[in-house]
């Protein structure tokens, strides 16, 4: 079955829940409503031979509604083609059904999306943080999380540190390092602390002074 035929059949089956496809640079993206993602994934896996979940990724579209999205990249080894499914998740109800029942490989990907964005996956067998430590209070890839970090407590077992400090900005990897006032001013990321980030997000149109 070609990809187009599969999409047509999926649209018949799920009706309004599927929109698209959108083509960009030869890639096909379908948008699926949150409640129907497991059905769509099962359809692609069992009936169309998309046997691999290549990637699963969260995205934060700050300022849009719904704010978050989860992108699933499916791959068919037999037909050698990809299809991307996109689910939009609103900020109020940050829950998506887990696809671990379809591919076991979704396990760590979903944990990562939970860790980085705080999106919860209903039915996931072990939804814990994966890259950050248990008990870390933030979700770092959200757009309102500053690049400099937010001070946080480390768990008791960690040695030699009481808190995680913000990354040093001056002389840090994103900052021009000659130390003169003008070059710091030229570097907008120098100001990317929590207060600055909130200010920036509150007034997105305001041009940064160079």
């Amino acid at each position: 079955m070609t990809l187009q035929a599969a999409i047509d059949r999926l649209k018949v089956r799920l009706g309004e829940a599927v929109s698209g496809p959108v083509e960009f640079r030869g890639e096909t993206t379908l948008t699926v409503s949150p409640g129907k993602i497991v059905a769509a994934c099962e359809f692609f896996k069992k009936e169309c031979g998309f046997d691999m979940l290549t990637d699963l990724s969260g995205v934060d579209n700050y300022g849009e509604d719904p704010r978050y999205e989860v992108d699933y990249l499916l791959y068919s080894l037999a037909q050698r083609c990809h299809v991307r499914l996109k689910v939009r998740v609103s900020e109020e109800d940050m829950v998506v059904d887990s696809v671990t029942s379809v591919w076991r490989g979704a396990d760590w990907h979903e944990r990562e999306a939970f860790d980085m964005f705080g999106i919860r996956f209903r039915g996931h067998p072990n939804l814990k943080r994966i890259l950050m430590w248990e008990g870390y209070p933030h979700h770092p890839l959200r757009k309102d999380f500053p690049l400099a970090g937010i001070p946080a407590e480390l768990p008791e077992s960690a040695v030699n540190a009481d808190t995680v400090r913000s990354a040093p900005m001056l002389g840090g990897p994103f900052v021009a390092s000659d130390g003169t006032r003008s070059s710091i001013r030229r570097e907008p990321r120098q100001y990317d602390t929590l207060a600055e980030r909130q200010e920036k997000l509150a007034h997105p149109t305001k041009k940064e002074s160079v």
Partner: protein
């Protein structure tokens, strides 16, 4: 001042009895391996549940090397992120550079000149050899064959010398640019590579003789860490681990990029999917890489290495200092970055460890809105519990070595 300690001395016979009863009751032990264990090749922690020597369960715990690369990427221009890709799979920095450059070029919808594609193939294959050499060397060392490590490191040294020749740095190469390369390869590079290609097969044969029919190695690797075809596909395992399980899938063949369609090479496959098969696949892949490299230098096209689009690559410094238009392009490229169209693309390439993919969401402008790195080590490590179950504690070392992961890429 002296203090008096009171302690209870359990009579040893009674203690032995107690231990035996505990064992008979089947009490399991949970032990912690890593994150500073030498065989975990970095900072992987594995929590093992043992029944005697047998592994009942294994839980990999990743994240100790998380540096927030994806967050960093959202805060800089596309070109500025190239050095960070060196530090993903730090055993094959050249290959990461190449993959990242193609991903951004796909977003921009541009093509690079044929010479650039060939040089990128050379980079990717050199990185593959380098990474597999380390993988094999440390595999041998982990199961007790120390010599192999020394032989493979001697060859890696030559590859580092070549990396220095072509990019100026041995380790953190940052050789590609969006739309081309930092510079064409220097004239002394091709003779260097020719010499290497002449000498290197002898080393593969040497390693082959030392390991492939070595009784100790075979017994430690055969039948250990089985990964079936179905499990490998279900978990999304890629690279030599997938092909070791007998799935014929190599991105260089399935979706040829960087002019891989011009090259003749075979894709080796395993038959049962154990550690030994994965070892054999890597061995053969190095031989195939030598073939590819030979073809690449024999048929290397002439011409420019950089795309002529002035809105993407930095113009010549001399022109910047003397001409108005070039100065403007330079200024815009450095301060604002490349103006990418809005959209989302996923590009993946066959890296030494598996499928390295970059998923870029652009809202237009010089910085990505989201850059997700689909790292093969992260995905492949998920297979560890399945592979380890039922094996001895000492086989864990074999399984980890045959998975051949890198934590820099896994944790990002």
């Amino acid at each position: 001042m002296t203090t008096k300690h009171e302690m209870e001395l359990i009579d040893s016979a009674a203690r032995a009895q107690q231990v035996m009863e505990e064992e008979l009751a089947g009490e399991k032990m949970v032990i912690n391996m890593g994150p500073q264990h030498p065989s975990t090749h970095g900072v992987l922690r594995v929590v093992l549940e043992l029944d005697g020597e047998e592994i009942v369960n294994a839980w990999p715990d990743v994240g100790y090397l998380h540096r927030g690369d994806e967050k960093i990427a959202e805060n800089m221009t596309y070109t500025q992120f190239i050095p960070y890709t060196d530090r993903l799979d730090y055993l094959a920095p050249l290959a990461n550079n190449v993959t990242y450059a193609y991903a951004v070029e796909k977003l921009l919808g541009m093509d690079v000149p044929p010479r650039c594609k060939y040089i990128r193939v050379i980079c990717a294959e050199l990185a593959r050899i380098s990474s597999h050499l380390l993988g094999l060397g440390s595999f041998g060392m982990d199961v007790g064959a120390m010599t192999v490590f020394l032989y493979t490191f001697r060859e890696r040294e030559k590859i580092y010398d070549m990396a220095e020749c072509i990019s100026g740095a041995r380790f953190t190469t940052s050789y590609t640019r969006i739309g081309g390369l930092a510079h064409d390869m220097p004239p002394e590079f091709v003779p260097m590579l020719r010499k290497f290609l002449k000498e290197f097969p002898a080393t593969i044969d040497e390693v082959d003789k030392l390991l492939t029919r070595n009784r100790i190695f075979c017994e430690r690797a055969r039948g250990i860490g089985m990964l079936t075809k179905a499990d490998a596909i279900d978990l999304g395992v890629t690279g030599p681990c997938l092909r070791g399980s007998g799935v014929d899938w190599d991105i260089r063949k399935a979706h040829p990029y960087s002019s891989y369609e011009d090259f003749e090479f075979e894709v080796p496959l395993g038959s049962v999917g154990d550690s030994y098969d994965r070892y054999l696949v890597r061995m053969e892949e190095m031989r195939q890489s030598v073939r590819i490299l030979q073809q690449a230098i024999d048929n290397l096209p002439d011409g420019p290495v950089n795309s002529p689009d002035a809105k993407i690559l930095l113009p010549d410094k001399e022109a910047v200092l003397t001409k108005m238009e070039e100065l403007i392009h330079h200024f815009i490229n450095v301060t604002e970055g490349i103006n990418a169209p809005p959209g989302e693309v996923y590009f993946s390439a066959e890296n030494p460890k598996g499928e390295l993919g970059f998923y870029i969401v652009s809202k237009g402008g010089g910085t990505p809105h989201r850059l997700k790195i689909r790292s093969p080590s992260f995905v492949n490590l998920q297979a560890l519990p399945i592979m380890a179950k039922g094996h001895m504690m000492s086989d864990m070392v074999t399984i980890l070595a045959s998975l051949d992961f890198v934590m820099g890429e896994c944790d990002r």
